[in-house]
């Protein structure tokens, strides 16, 4: 594109030159000087924009800090533990960084079990062939069972506490103190009932074992842990049951209930008959003819 000046002819110039400018006000300078008084100071200069390298570096830094904060929060709230991610202890990290030998972790202080306190407990080797050995086995089984049950109860209590705390965090309605106490009382009553039932069964089973030992003079380990094996088999059956499809599970439950009622001598409960929707919509009587 050419930028050579486009010429104006003289006639056009004479027209343009008519665009004259009027005089300024005589007091213009005074007005301007007056306007400078009490004039607000200009705003300070804007802070110069940081360089591109610093901007990108700052973004990386902010990202790292944010990721660190999230990881810390996740670790603090136990999310990583639930996901099966093990976090190294501070000593482990420091040891990896400095190559210093890591101090031996402190061993947890364990309470001495009652079995350790029994200095005169008989040493059981091989088969059980004395009543003392048999009673010692019973005692050890009771101890292990007590610990196992106590742990299980702690876990249940902990789940209740966690559920209440979770509902509190989510703003959901919480059970009142009375409701919570009623729940724990019911749980305790169930535990007592379960303990009594188990103790009765156990005592009957142990009487059988004592009789067997008296009659046969010896017992194998398998004879005693049969009940425990039975427990394991129940757990296995429950696991297999849970893997069944829902329809199959419902059918098994229905069969179990029928069997239980039959064992108690109760009549078998009939399943409610499901009507065919097509039949259900049919009028039972002919409509009245008008």
């Amino acid at each position: 594109m050419s930028t050579d000046p486009i010429p104006f002819d003289e006639k056009m110039k004479s027209v343009l030159d008519q665009y004259t400018v009027p005089d300024m006000s005589a007091d213009f300078a005074d007005r301007v000087v007056d306007a400078t008084e009490n004039r607000a100071r200009p705003l300070p200069q804007l802070r110069p924009a940081p360089s591109r390298r610093w901007r990108s570096g700052r973004r990386v830094l902010v990202g790292v800090l944010a990721a660190g904060a999230l990881a810390t929060a996740a670790a603090a709230t136990g999310v990583l533990e639930e996901l099966g991610i093990e976090l190294p202890a501070v000593e482990e990290v420091w040891s990896a960084v400095t190559f210093e030998e890591r101090p031996e972790p402190l061993q947890p202080v364990t309470e001495e079990t009652p079995a350790d306190q029994h200095e005169d407990a008989p040493l059981i080797e091989g088969r059980i062939d004395t009543p003392e050995e048999l009673e010692e086995v019973f005692r050890r089984v009771d101890e292990a069972g007590d610990i196992r049950r106590e742990n299980r109860r702690d876990r249940v209590d902990q789940r209740i506490d966690n559920a209440i705390e979770r509902r509190s965090r989510q703003g959901l309605p919480l059970p009142s103190a009375e409701q919570e106490q009623r729940l724990r009382d019911r749980l305790e009553r169930f535990r007592e009932w379960s303990d009594e039932r188990r103790e009765r069964r156990t005592e009957d089973r142990r009487d059988e074992l004592r009789e067997t030992l008296k009659e046969e003079g010896t017992l194998a380990r398998e004879d005693i842990i049969r009940g425990e094996a039975s427990d394991r088999s129940v757990a296995e059956r429950v696991r297999r049951f849970r893997e069944l499809p829902p329809e199959e599970r419902r059918e098994r439950i229905r069969q179990f209930r029928e069997q239980r009622r039959a064992n108690r001598g109760l009549p078998i409960q009939q399943e409610p008959q499901v009507l065919d929707p097509a039949e259900e919509t049919q009028p039972s009587e002919d409509p009245p003819s008008n």
């Binding site: 486009i6 343009l16 300024m24 006000s25 301007v32």
Partner: protein, 206 residues
């Protein structure tokens, strides 16, 4: 065509050599930064007529043009301390003032266009005039309408080069443009102005 010759301080063809002019401007600026009223009045006396001509020919209204010049001077007053430190003794006040005036005029034109949805209305006659005076006023109005019908930047280019007779480099500096872009703008502006003139002449002749 220039209305007067008060703009000697920034005129390279004037009696003061360019280097001396820059030194004088820097000294004036430093004094204004120290809130020297006399120095400020010197700058007003030297440059306000030239700024007024530019503003008036771009806006077409005398009061509005005076407001623009006043705003330019007050900006100089406000920014003098920082400007004095920044330029470190090398400034041409005339160029700086022209740039501020052109920018303010273009801003006002754009604001007025947005507010009214059209070009700034031309000034109306206030009273009946004698025939000769009326004829002159009509010619002046014709010239004004030719200029004020141009887009803002083209108008500024014509005002600075035709009426103020600035060389292209200084006009480009006043409009904060590089010389190539300004020459292209000026080419379009002169073409548009000549076409408008021819159209007007054709209409008048019919």
């Amino acid at each position: 065509m220039t209305g007067d010759t008060a703009d000697q301080g920034s005129n390279p063809s004037g009696g003061v050599p360019a280097a001396d002019s820059v030194a004088l401007d820097a000294e004036l600026l430093a004094r204004i930064a120290q809130r020297d009223e006399q120095a400020f009045r010197e700058v007003i006396a030297d440059h306000s007529q030239m700024l007024h001509r530019i503003a008036y020919r771009m806006i077409g209204q005398p009061q509005e043009a005076e407001d623009i010049v006043q705003e330019v001077m007050l900006r100089l007053w406000d920014h003098a301390p920082r400007l004095s430190q920044k330029v470190n003794g090398a400034i041409r006040l005339g160029a700086w003032l022209k740039r501020v005036a052109v920018n303010l005029a273009i801003d006002r034109l754009r604001v007025a266009k947005r507010a009214s949805g059209e070009e700034v209305p031309e000034q109306e006659d206030a009273a009946p005039l004698a025939d000769r005076e009326m004829e002159e006023r009509e010619e002046s109005n014709a010239a004004r309408s030719l200029v004020t019908e141009l887009p803002e930047k083209q108008r500024a280019a014509i005002v600075l080069t035709y009426y103020e007779e600035l060389p292209n480099s200084q006009a480009a500096e006043a409009m904060d443009m590089n010389i190539k872009a300004f020459e292209s703008l000026l080419y379009r502006a002169r073409g548009a102005l000549r076409n408008a003139y021819r159209e007007r002449e054709g209409g008048t002749a019919q």
